[in-house]
Amino acid sequence: MIRAIGKMDQPVVRVKDLAVAYETRYGDVLAVRNVSFEIHRGETLGIVGESGCGKTTVAYALVNYLGRNGKIVKGDIFFQGQSLVGRTPEELRRLRGDQISMVYQDPMTSLNPVLRIGEQMTEVLTVHRGMAEEEARQRCIEMLQRVYMPDPAKVLERFPHQLSGGQQQRIIIAMAMLNNPALLIMDEPTTALDVTVEAAVLDLVADLRRDFDTAILFISHNLGVIARVSDRVAVMYAGEIVEMAATARIFARPQHPYTQGLIRCLPKLGRSKTSSILYPIRGRVPPPSNLPPGCVFEPRCDYARDACRQQRPPLRELPGSHFTRCLFSEEIDPAQWKPDSEPVLLQPTAATQNNSQPILEVDRLQTYYRHPNTSLLSFIGLGRRDYVKAVDGVSFQLPKGCTLGIVGESGCGKSTLVKTIIGLEEATGGKAQFMGFDISRRVNKRDLDIIKELQMVFQNPDSTLNPVYTVGQQIERPLRRFRIVPPDRVHEEVVRLLRAVKLDEHYYNRLPRQLSGGEKQRVGIARAFAGRPDLVLADEPVSALDVSVQAAVLNLLLEIQREHGTTMIFISHDLSVVRFMADYVAVMYLGQIVEIGPAEAIYQPPYHPYTESLLAAVPIPDPEVEQEHIRLEGSVPSPLNPPSGCRFHTRCPRRNWLPDGGRICETETPPWQQVSAEHRILCHIPLEKLRQMEPVVHPTLSKGH
């Protein structure tokens, strides 16, 4: 409802020309400069940017958590009309009082692990509001219902570790809202969550904002998430706001070259490697201690001119309350943008021509983990043995040179499957054959030749590189171990590999701590490809990286794969990335594959109901795309005791399509239904019915940049 108001609506927060510095051994480093914005009641401002660009520093400045060495050096922050800068901690405490709440990225670190949820939640009310214990409890139950927590009274009795990540984050949000704050700061609140849970939490944030009129500052690196929750978006780069406008506007007509670049390097849900290419932004974010003299984005900008190098551009207003920190926004047309070198589109032939002979055959593979049973009987060896069925009867074949993408929520067994194939876990049943050799045994029982042919790229490059060895030594190791080249040519080969991953030979003697995240991941890729393997298993290789770096690493993987004809298994929680990379996609749920087929078939109806829900949850960085609203209830059941019949029946939103409310799903294991030669779905619902599904993402997708 449009409502006329006769009084001036003052913003809840107004940040004016803020600059924050951290004291270091080398003097003060300005982490944030010239940041100005305001947030009104009931409005969400999204701040988006890559890591290290100062998003979190802005949030911490608002609540004065800058730490011992952080300080506000310039500018002012007004909260509810009063300045927060230059006050004593006691004054600040009183000013902010119970009016600002904050939600952090990792819910587990915000909850006290030794107190029951009920004690932690009621404390907010009994301490701040002097409420009686019983009344506070009642209020907490109401608030938990508001955040759609199933069975709230029981949840109050639990400890934090007994709840799933999504439930924990809901508790945190409920706690933040108990005090009815005027301002809620959310710093990457959904980054640690699964895509299905993330979608539910984002819906919740929107509901709460409407009902409580809270002003929200929402920080995320994910453009899709920002597009879904924000009214306005501020794009930060190297400590400055480079562009700010209403959400629909900034995605439809980005005015700053950095924003345009960010949007270009995102894989779109409807695009694959054969139809499009990702354009990474060259270079990297400058460190705050060593900024270029002019525009901070100038060294990476395709439109840089002399004027850009001479002065720092001001944040100026374009028509429609669109702010940009670029001197030439009016002249730049992103549609006219051309990459430096014409990209080569991958030909689909590479994937399809030699699919006659599968390189990897997996047949009813099982990996069970023994679950420690704490009963006395098991202590003397008589107890029932419990198994966590991490992978339970997975079968697929993978032709040479193709990429299989595996998607699913956390805990569905993606990583265990890959670990079993590479031999880090031993299969408890079934068969796995690689080029005709049996690979169901552990890696230490395998031949060196097979070990050589299977290599892995890990998720977190920080923990997979040995911090005390140089980059060169780490890439050398597989070369020497597998005797790929004669010992006198090892160095030469390492340099070749470094070049192949777009790093030069100067990196040979560097230590991992001297590299950025993207560079470390390149070293990880170089090491995986050093043994010239036939099969590379990549477990979330880009999820720890920023979007602009992610694009470069994905391109690199594709290029190397094409060059060597390597087969790849690619795990990701990001369905757009999988769509881009994979020729075939397998959707896993609770240790089983529920749908497998060519990538383009998976993203179109007929879907498995689980695939449909996953697609509906993907945050799409385009506010104009319409998505079906399907939300999964609850979390993945325990693989210790998976549901009978169809494992998805406890959460399936399409069960009622079957007669009798889907009674059959509870009792009988669903059959494989063959959609086409390569596409099959594990579901009771007849294919004709599945074919009638609406596409989840409504196709404005053809429009692109």
């Binding site: 409802m1 409502r3 006769g6 009641r41």
Partner: protein, 232 residues
Amino acid sequence: MLVRDYMTPHPIMVGPEMRVTEAQKLMTENNIRHLPVVGDGKRLLGLVTRQRLAIPPEKLASLDVWEITRFLAELTVQRVMVTGPDLHTITPDKTLEEAADMLIRYKISGLPVVEDGMVVCGIITETDLLIEFQNLLGANDAGWRVVMRVPNKVGQYRKLVRAISENNWGLMALGGVRSPRHPDKWDVVLKVRHCTKEQLIAVLQAIEEQELVDIRETGGALPDSNVASRQR
């Protein structure tokens, strides 16, 4: 129409130790007339209003120029705020009429909205009530504002609404009051759109027992630039 939905949520609030001069500045800068004073946990202690900030003339006469400065510099809001039985509050689950009743009865211009005892969650003022009065009569939408004088009998609204809806015209607002100078009649105010003045007059005059008192075009772009619109 409950206080919850029409109050200003998250009002600007201050602590009891704030200097009066600072409070005055805050109120002027933010263009507000009521400043709830709260302690820990947003619990209401008192209310500062513009009148409370004025120094009474008899006191003013007894102070010289130097003393005024010192007097003001040391004065905190807790010494000037409205407290005790003069401090009136309302809860969010009350109706707007109840809020209006309190404002009229105590001759005050605003009420802090409190929940859980004394925790401030909003403020509702005369302005909020006037805005809703305006919205209730559809003042901000373009259309024909009509006043009909109807007898005090059952079924008058039905005749009126049927006449308009039979023509598929939009009825945006409808309100009735006892006619000021004709105690046996009621004046019904309506806002109608999607029709011409002539059509409307013809239809309304045909209604039995009722009398068309006034018709004029109102709403649309209001000349007052101070009126901002916002989404709710």
